[in-house]
Amino acid sequence: MTKTRVPAVEGWFTSDPDRPALLGQRCAACGTYVFPPRDRSWCPNPGCAGRQLDEVELSRRGTVWSYTDARYQPPLPYVVPGAEHRPFALAAVELAAEGLVVMGQVVPGVSVDDLAVGAPVELVVDTLYEDDEHTYLVWKWAPVAGGGGA
């Protein structure tokens, strides 16, 4: 029996296997971006009276603003994927076009030794955790082959 693949959070990313993307919002008036998407429609820019935020896909590639890892098991509501905690890396990634830094886990198998500030990464959708019926998906960052990592 195959498990149903569902996003771990609704409406924050697309999971098209070929072209996954974060879903942000863009102010129709001033052009600023918002991530995560909000359920309200006013612009967060105090210099803008815009009241319409349009859904947009964010850039799939960015550069590492900074990075770290989780050596110890984070507390609930984090759910450990698999039998026991295995350290994973996290990165804050700068998206140049949107002027945003977005956090995410880094794909398994990549350690902090493989990362550097400024290194190029791209967005993938991967398993966050599973239960008996579902595979819960989340966005993660993956180093780009030939990029700045070690």
């Binding site: 771990a8 001033c30 900074s66 890892d69 984090y78 500030v117």
Partner: protein
Amino acid sequence: MRGRDDVVVLGVGMHPWGKWGRNFVEYGVAAATDALGDAGLDWGDVQFVSGADTMRNGYPGYVAGATFAQALGWTGVPVASSYAACASGATAMEVARTRILAGLCDVALVVGADTTPKGFLAPTSGERPDDPDWLRFRLLGATNPTYFALYARRRMDLYGATDADFARVKVKNARHGLNNANARYRKEVTESEVLASPMVADPLRLLEICATSDGGAAVVLASAAFARRHTTEPVRVAAISTATPTYPNAVIEMPNFATDSWAAAAPPERPFKASIAAAAYDEAGIGPEDLSLAEVYDLSAALELDWYEDIGLCKPGEAERLLNDGDTTIGGRVPVNPSGGLSCFGEAVPAQAIAQVCEVTWQLRGRATGRQVEGARVGITANQGLFGHGSSVLLAR
């Protein structure tokens, strides 16, 4: 600055930090009693109680002002209860200070206390997908040290900071707090001990990340006119800043998933963390060059270095040099965290910003036995809490 009469710290008090496991009200009342004794006042003299809330101790924690007023014995005194994450204590002080400046009272008591759980600070139970502080654990497994580590790693890659630099912050603070009776950890550590401690969130190690503690702190504030009749060593509240960010905040902040966007508006010239102390300097007409000492929020050893720059002790990228030159060690140009800082205390959230003010007060009075900064005349506190809460208190004698 505005020519108005000053507000003065008339008394300070603390319940020692530790892992006592008792009710937080007990720590708060002990600290309040201590502060009132220090001020030479009775509880009945207090005209306003300003509590810093704790979200961990049920209803009494949400209404700290009323809880402490009731515990000390209801006198009909007006109360307020403030929450601003790690900046709660400073916000509670500011609420009390403004009440005195407004002429609505002469003597106010500010109290914060906490009983904390063991381990990582984690959100309370239940499914709360609307709360970013819940979601960051669920979707990212991003604990508080995750965010501190992002800043630390950036210092390394941008400024060439090293593991050893971070360890030396810890070594310095451990030495500072050695004789501080209110500190929880009073033990020297060596650089190699720090570097041998387990990595928690690369590049930060266990001994470089602050613990969570139980503790309580209190301050008695008074109008200058009242204080003149009660003390000959007044410590003046020169300014309090309770700043928020200016859009777009281009630095990732706990517990957020992303920064604001700078696609439509340029980030402010002064980033949020640097704007916190700046607002206090502006109000007081005092500058970083006037400082005798500083108490900053060293949630991690590396974060203390960020603060050197953010409170104006040096330019960005120069904090490691300041540290390694001994400038921020007691005996140096401008000692930072002479109390031992969070490194020796561990964080008791609503009490911590008040404890910083207690330490600066003792320093300015020349009473910080075993850790005195000689001739201290001006001191600053600085901290930053979740959700855009910056705070800084500037004290002078």
